[in-house]
């Protein structure tokens, strides 16, 4: 499957479907290397079925989100790569 390595900004569409906050300026802390940074400054790997946000410092997967488009629409949101998300 085609996968595109893009900026965290490219994950904003699908993440904004589940978060009611501006997500690209939220700060995420990586569980692996401890780096913190805005979601928009991380790397997004985007495919048709879902998106993986990786730490721009160590490449650890921070957030994985998969969407099932059949009705009812479902999301799988895996946040175990982050220690916290700081939302404004």
């Amino acid at each position: 499957m085609d996968e595109q390595r893009l900026d965290g900004n490219a994950a904003a569409g699908i993440l904004q479907e589940v978060f009611a906050f501006e997500i690209t300026t939220a700060r995420a802390a990586c569980v692996q290397c401890g780096a913190t940074g805005e979601v928009g400054a991380q790397m997004a790997y985007v495919t048709e079925i879902g998106t993986v946000l990786r730490c721009s410092s160590c490449d650890n997967p921070l957030i994985r989100i998969v969407r099932q488009n059949e009705t009812p629409q479902r999301y799988w949101l895996d946040l175990k790569g982050i220690n916290y998300l700081q939302l404004q």
Partner: protein, 248 residues
């Protein structure tokens, strides 16, 4: 941006104008039933649905200023693309287009944030940076701006006339062009791909703490971002928007 408590919803906009920009690009102007307003630099997701229900989504940067009444998107025809040939060739005035947005507050600039502003674009990566330049003008801002723009040829410079006019009317806005494949006779801009040396000449010195926005094909964006950091710019003030290797 604080307090953006709004779920993204799809809506159908109407194409009120479709006008060619360059041989491979077109500007689509849209009117939307519900538009909460956007910030310069944000994008929309566009969704096409085939008769069998198959859907394809792509992101397009908004080129119009927040102050404009219509939403302008720049679409570039990629011959093996899934979405862009439809947008560039099949979509006409009066047609509907499903989209949602605005999306992404990170790659965005408000005039009140100041600068100086370093904008670096490759090809259709000019779109969100054009929104910033237009917003700056509409807001009456005198934030110094340098825009370094790489195109393949003179005919492929998107917004060429408007950029010339913007720069001619404003001493604090400089537009520096480079053409990578062919140049017209007497061309006075750069004649190669953007590199560290070019950025050293064009960018504000790191001591001035410029805010940089870089948008275009992935190789260009990575070259520019790496070179800026090597020149001593603060990585936290270099914001990037990769279009990917092909877009689509």
């Amino acid at each position: 941006m604080a307090g953006t408590v709004r779920r993204l919803t799809w809506q159908v906009g109407e194409v009120v104008e479709a006008s060619p920009q360059t041989p491979r690009t077109k500007s689509l102007f849209l009117e939307l039933p519900e538009w909460p307003g956007h910030r310069a630099g944000q994008h929309v997701d566009v969704r096409l649905t085939a008769e069998d229900g198959y859907q394809a989504e792509r992101s397009y940067s908004i080129a119009s200023a927040p102050e404009s009444g219509r939403l302008e998107l720049v679409v570039e025809r990629l011959d093996d693309g899934e979405v862009s040939p439809y947008l560039a060739d099949e979509l006409h005035e009066g047609d509907g287009l499903e989209l949602r947005g605005p999306i992404g507050g990170w790659f965005a600039w408000d005039a009140k944030e100041g600068g100086p502003l370093l904008l670096v674009a490759g090809g259709s990566g000019i779109a969100p940076l054009m929104a910033m330049a237009r917003h700056r003008k509409a807001a009456g801002s005198d934030t110094p701006v340098r825009l370094l723009y790489s195109s393949r040829s003179y005919a492929e410079i998107i917004f060429r006339q408007e950029l010339e006019t913007l720069a001619a009317d404003d001493e604090t806005l400089e537009v520096i062009q480079t053409l990578t494949r062919s140049r017209p006779e007497g061309w006075r801009g750069y004649d190669r791909r953007i590199d560290g040396e070019m950025l050293r000449e064009v960018a504000y010195p790191p001591e001035e703490h410029p805010l940089a926005f870089v948008c275009g094909p992935t190789p260009l964006v990575e070259t520019v971002a790496t070179a800026l950091v090597d020149l001593g710019h603060d990585p936290n003030r270099v914001k990037t928007e990769r279009f990917g290797p092909t877009g689509g």
